[in-house]
Symmetry: C2
Subunit: 129 residues, 2 copies
């Protein structure tokens, strides 16, 4: 299977597949005599795994850690648990920060609902921010 067809089957682009290979996420496929990449159909599972990892909010570097452990012949379960835990903590923190930011902006916005341009001095640029 050549890269274009494989990319479409895997729901991505040829460019991205070459990039994943370069990043160590996909094993380099065989080449035809003319140098074209020749993918086995079951390599799609690996691309799907990368996509699921991304959907879980993992970076490509983290996904690579997992596939490296698997390719070294081990089950990556423990590492995956650690990654998911860390990601969960990050996300909780991001949500907390965004929530605080939302409240801050909502307050600024409320102030700005009563336009009093004359009280804006050029010094402070804008009295609402």
């Amino acid at each position: 299977m050549r890269i274009g067809e494989f990319a479409e089957a895997a729901g991505t682009t040829a460019k991205t597949l070459r990039f994943y290979e370069e990043q160590g996420l996909l094993p380099p496929p065989d080449r035809t005599s003319s140098g074209y990449r020749d993918y086995p159909p079951d390599a799609i599972a690996r691309v799907d795994f990368v996509h699921r990892g991304q959907a879980a909010g993992l970076t490509l570097a983290q996904i690579r850690q997992i596939v490296d452990i698997r390719d070294a012949g081990h089950a990556p379960c423990a590492h995956v648990r650690d990654l998911l835990d860390a990601r969960l903590r990050d996300i909780e923190q991001q949500i907390a920060q965004l929530t605080a930011l939302r409240d801050t902006i909502a307050n600024l916005r409320d102030d700005a609902a009563h336009p009093e341009p004359e009280t804006c001095s050029a010094d402070q640029v804008c009295r609402y921010v």
Copy 2:
């Protein structure tokens, strides 16, 4: 006031001040005869405005739009309201996405709490993701 002293007074670094100037956020200050930047103390208000804009989640490009309006002699109130509204919508959306992602990951993590490495096939790399 030379850049180092001014930077400290404004709570930032000389490098950052040159960057802000290059980005059009700060007006180019006068220069001494030897070419050193010479800041008037009241320029600190402009730096503070940039910092407040950042605290409100605005990008430097957006802050620049505001100061450009102000420097053109207009009150930026209406534009500021639009920016704050847009930012608020973005943040609400980000929070919703992160909340959904958190639930997804929490579920994956729960699955991974019961380790069954033997059911992980090398094909799927990891059955938890």
